[in-house]
């Protein structure tokens, strides 16, 4: 397609050579370019199909036992995944709750009080750093620093001092997912129309009252979406959780106990899974995890696009 034309070596006049007839290439290049989004799409479709097909075997063989069974013992061939579903849910919900004050505080600071200036950049820097640290580093640090701290907590509460536990994982996750809710929250708070706030100020409201009465209600769907995003991230987090949760394949009865999540059990057992059913069960767990995480992410994106910043328009 590359036609390199050389200008004729005329003495003075340099004229661009005339084009061959019918050279206009817009439609054909568009087709060529289109191959790439097409292959991307096919890739993802293939991914979903592969995981679905491989998991289907498990669902067909084990039926609902897979989801409600509490015994996960590859040696005996029992694959009840309820402990992991529970562990995942427990740690993620707890992480979200624990991170809420932190992320809301950061969102409000960045979105309302410190929208620009030196301290604002500093705050954003902190958030970016938190978000950029690899999860294995979080995990190792969690094992070495957070777990002993949780042991101390457990002593105080009178619980068995495992250290590695649901609580440790939730605390670590809380810090890891804070940046996501914080930056989405800050963005939607910045979008609150200035004149709405000014109307409230003109009525003699304090800054806090304007925040509680005007800004937060206005931005609530965006804030909610930010929380959903955090939650989705917590669900899928693997390495940090694996290192501090204790990897006990049983249903946790308290947050001070070790447990496992869907992601952590996959990380632990996949490479050594010898039995085909064992492997496929892990694949099925991965498929479930993907479906839930993707659904939450798409939903929160949809909310941000269609509802946040559009209130009262």
């Amino acid at each position: 397609m590359q036609t390199v034309e050389t200008a004729r070596a005329d003495d003075d006049a340099l004229t661009p050579p005339a084009l061959k007839e019918g050279h206009s290439d817009w439609p054909s290049f568009k087709k060529f370019l289109g191959l790439f989004p097409l292959s991307t799409s096919m890739l993802v479709v293939g991914m979903a199909l592969t995981l679905l097909v491989q998991s289907y075997v498990v669902f067909r063989e084990l039926g609902h036992l897979f989801l409600v069974g509490t015994e996960w013992d590859p040696v005996y061939g029992s694959y009840g995944a309820l402990p992991f579903l529970a562990g995942t849910l427990l740690t993620s919900v707890l992480a979200l709750l624990l991170s809420l004050p932190l992320s809301m505080a950061m969102a409000i600071l960045l979105g309302e009080y410190l929208r620009s200036g030196l301290f604002s950049s500093f705050l954003q820097g902190v958030l970016e750093l938190l978000a950029g640290i690899p999860s294995i580093v979080y995990g190792f640090w969690g094992l070495m620093v957070l777990v002993p701290f949780v042991r101390v907590l457990q002593e105080t509460v009178g619980a068995p001092t495992f250290g590695v536990s649901v609580m440790a994982a939730s605390l670590l996750l809380a810090v890891m997912v804070t940046p996501y809710a914080a930056s989405v929250g800050a963005e939607v708070l910045r979008l609150v129309p200035q004149d709405l706030k000014e109307a409230a100020y003109a009525l003699g409201a304090t800054r806090l009252e304007v925040l509680l009465g005007v800004s937060l209600p206005y931005a609530r769907s965006g804030l909610f979406a930010g929380m959903m995003l955090s939650f989705g991230r917590a669900l899928g987090e693997t390495m940090a959780v694996t290192m501090v949760i204790g990897n006990a394949n049983r249903l946790p009865t308290s947050v001070w106990e070790p447990a496992s999540t869907m992601a952590s059990v996959i990380a632990n057992e996949f490479a050594e899974a010898v039995e085909e059913m064992h492997l496929l069960s892990l694949v099925a767990l991965g498929f479930l995890l993907m479906v839930v995480t993707v659904a939450i992410s798409l939903a929160s994106k949809w909310i941000i696009q269609h509802l946040a910043g559009g209130e009262g328009r």
């Binding site: 034309e5 200008a7 006049a13 340099l14 661009p16 084009l19 050279h23 206009s24």
Partner: protein
């Protein structure tokens, strides 16, 4: 009248089924400056963009009629070739920001993969920049990005870039409307000089400008060519009442 380098025959242009130009016919004499004027929405921009088929680039345009470039219907030619022979300068100067001044002048060659020797390139750049009276101002900063120049200088750079392709016709779409009066005056002087080497068609929103520098003027209104003739005559004894009212400022 001198021979017509560009002949518009019954040009009808529609966007998404809505007619914007209703059967325009006119002849652009060689070596002249033709001004197209009219109130906003009259179709003058569509008309000039139809002359190098730029109106096809954005949106759903359908065209009927012909435009003959020295006898060849440009709608039967490859649009890419049309645009190499009919150049265009836009309302807002748009030098390529990622290219130097030097490379901007040669952009038509560079982007089309046409190789020039160093000597050819140097001489072309100097020739074109001299033509637009930019050479002395930028000869020491040829390697700088084009966006560091003033608005007027940028526009002259764009004219140089278009001229480097040695077009037969140069289309100017309101070239001075984003410039200050001093820069405008410089460009107007330039246009009058350039007609010796290239035929110029210029859309203007400023009747004074049309009167100052054009040889022929076309007055458009609501998608129709209302009147076309030598500038002196059209401005002193307009034949159509609408032309007269426009010139008197009755509507803009």
């Amino acid at each position: 009248m001198e021979s017509a380098v560009l002949k518009v025959e019954n040009l009808v242009v529609s966007y998404d089924g809505r007619r914007v130009l209703h059967g325009v016919s006119m002849e652009i004499p060689e070596g002249s400056v033709v001004a197209i004027m009219g109130p906003s929405g009259c179709g003058k921009t569509t008309l000039i963009r139809a002359m190098n088929r730029m109106h096809e680039v954005s949106g759903n345009a359908s065209t009927e009629g012909r435009i003959l470039l020295r006898g060849q219907d440009i709608y039967a030619m490859d649009p890419i070739e049309v645009r190499r022979r009919i150049g265009m300068v836009f309302q807002r100067p748009n030098p390529f920001p990622h290219l130097s001044i030097y490379d901007n002048v040669l952009a038509g060659y560079r982007l089309n993969g046409i190789r020039l020797s160093r000597a050819q390139a140097d001489s072309l750049v100097e020739e074109m920049l001299r033509k637009v009276y930019l050479w002395d101002e930028v000869k020491d900063k040829l390697k700088q990005r084009g966006t560091f120049l003033s608005g007027g200088q940028q526009q002259r750079l764009c004219i140089a870039r278009a001229l480097a392709m040695r077009p037969e016709v140069l289309l100017l779409d309101e070239p001075t409307s984003s410039l200050d009066p001093k820069a405008t005056a410089k460009i107007e002087e330039l246009v009058v000089e350039l007609k010796r080497s290239v035929t110029i068609v210029m859309v203007t929103h400023n009747t004074g400008q049309a009167a100052r520098i054009s040889d022929y003027t076309a007055f458009m209104y609501l998608g129709e060519l209302v009147e076309f003739g030598p500038t002196d005559r059209l401005f002193t004894v307009p034949r159509d009442r609408r032309t007269e009212e426009y010139l008197m400022g009755k509507f803009g």
